[in-house]
Symmetry: C2
Subunit: 346 residues, 2 copies
């Protein structure tokens, strides 16, 4: 059984070029993939001419509507009923695609996915989840879908993140933690503390490790870091910003004198290995997790290498039966939550 990915061919800063080239790259690694491309035929067909392998494994469906990068989610929902983004998500609902991938507007994609696919039973709110570069890869969620979260939401995120780590990172028993601002129980927000209590009391086979702090995220202390979408988004972007500042400063330093330039030439192979290890393109592709269907968001500014990674990540999520696994965990959790005593009796 081959995997079919429905593609929003018009989403992202350099669409549809990067989308088709990314598909070509993904096919080199996974020749069994198939694609369902939604977008402007006049622009996509010539690209397929240049990428015969993609053309052979794809079906192209024309639409002249697409979601602008700066569109408001509500706009994207009301207008553009036949946008390339929406059609890709609808293909998943219809069973024509096993997953949808878009590099378009995140808010619009989430809004469309929620309306079209609905959330999984037992999930109140879908989250944005991905693996991030660190001393070892670390799964983090929510990265920006939900600004205010209850303890129950965080518990649901923990369940989903754990399954994601098993599926995408291939870990047998991922270690899961809640992001907090101190390892002592006395610190932190009430919701975070309550979520920890619920996770400790749960009958899930999850390896719950309590709390981690911001600096632990990249240091491989745990495999899954759970937080609300506001903090998660800030953390993600601070890490990106700090890495960028560091690498820019190095570049300046290496260019600052002839001696430094020579040093760079000598150290280049070793430095390239570091750069490759933390290359954000290798981590591209965040799952909108908690929906009845697999939807992956690619970074809007990525190139074909990055887009291919998002496609391969989507394929792994399909093969790993991610949503079936989440469903099974949630059923176990629902039983326990119904039975467990609460901190505050109602």
């Amino acid at each position: 059984m081959s995997i079919t990915i429905a593609l929003d061919a018009m989403g992202g800063d350099r669409a549809p070029g990067v989308v088709v080239e990314g598909a070509a790259r993904a096919l080199r690694e996974r020749p069994d993939l198939r694609f369902l491309l939604f977008g402007d035929e006049a622009r996509i067909a010539p690209l397929l001419e240049r990428h015969a392998a993609v053309r052979e494994r794809s079906q192209l469906r024309h639409t002249d509507q697409f979601v602008a990068n700066d569109a408001r989610p509500s706009q994207a929902l009301r207008q553009a009923r036949r946008s390339s983004m929406r059609l890709a998500v609808e293909a998943v609902r219809a069973g024509e695609g096993d997953a949808a991938v878009s590099a378009g507007n995140t808010g619009a994609l989430m809004a469309i996915a929620k309306i079209v696919l609905r959330t999984l039973p037992g999930i109140d709110r879908p989250a944005i989840c991905t693996a991030l570069p660190g001393r070892r890869p670390v799964v983090m969620l929510d990265l920006g879908a939900n600004v205010g979260c209850s303890a129950e939401h965080l518990v649901q995120f923990a369940v989903m993140g754990e399954v994601y780590a098993r599926t995408v990172l291939g870990l047998e028993r991922p270690r899961v933690a809640l992001l907090n601002i101190g390892t002592e129980e006395i610190k932190g927000e009430d919701v975070v503390r309550e979520a920890a209590r619920l996770l400790r009391a749960s009958p899930l086979q999850m390896e719950f490790c309590g709390f981690v702090e911001g600096n632990d995220i990249v240091h491989g202390v745990v495999d899954v870091v759970v937080t609300d979408g506001f903090t998660g988004n800030v953390a993600l972007k601070v890490a990106e910003g700090a890495s960028r500042l560091y690498s820019d400063s190095l570049k300046e330093a290496f260019g600052s004198s002839l001696r430094a330039k020579l040093g760079y030439l000598l150290a280049r192979p070793a430095l390239s290995a570091v750069r490759e290890r933390y290359d954000p393109r290798r981590y591209n592709g965040a799952m909108l997790i908690g929906l009845n269907g697999i939807v992956v968001k690619s970074h809007g500014g990525t190139d074909a290498v990055g887009f291919a990674h998002a496609l391969l990540s989507a394929a792994r999520l399909v093969e790993g039966r991610t949503n079936e696994r989440i469903g099974a965990e949630l059923r176990a959790l629902a039983g326990s939550l119904a039975a467990a005593p609460r901190a505050v009796a109602s």
Copy 2:
């Protein structure tokens, strides 16, 4: 008029050694400083013997009580009425010290400072505020004192952070922004949006720039970044963690082959300049801002170079009449808040 700094000589991982050595270093730059040292005479007196310059400018007051690094704030308050930390803060209230500096337990220091000094009129909650390394230094608050904040709290933080940037960074007109997860008005938490509305409506001469995202913090887009203590603490520690990971990885890379080692030797002067520029010790010393008195928290694990920076930062805060300036801004703000129409009529 010389500045007298009250020192918790027993606070921090390597106290009292680092405290006395830090004082010696600070004196080289600012020979006009005076110190009031609180702590174990038997341990401090021999150190002063080795640092005659510090001894000459110091008064040593013995106490055998100190706050443990892992003490709970409530413990530190109830017990240890004569802890070195508390006595240092009390010296500020009594007017014997112009500022108190401690490298001890942050939670305990904040709890003691709130009880002993009380908050400034117009401030509901003190915050933790410091300048962070970035493309240019950026002031950020709250870094962990308040996990849940209202819009009014964020406005007060903005006022305090702006004054801090004027005093410590010497900026004439600091640009102030609220941390958010999108630059569009549609995103973000209600409290952040409401704080933006209040700041826009305020009559303060503040250059309010709206929202910034996590990646903007280190890139010098604005001079002051305002957020709640949970997000601020996570952001601070993620930045530290990412920088650490990057520098560790580089160290490994430069040691991975003879060729890379040679490259490092050539590039070392240029790389040292980068390291020095972002050296966290140069940024050591966070103000517990919003109190009737200047209290500066040094990192507990810093060395004498870092501790000296905390002392010099405290001296600048005294000279800059930071609290008087904050008071003046708050009086202007209080007038405007009383007069301004609210979004929701009461």
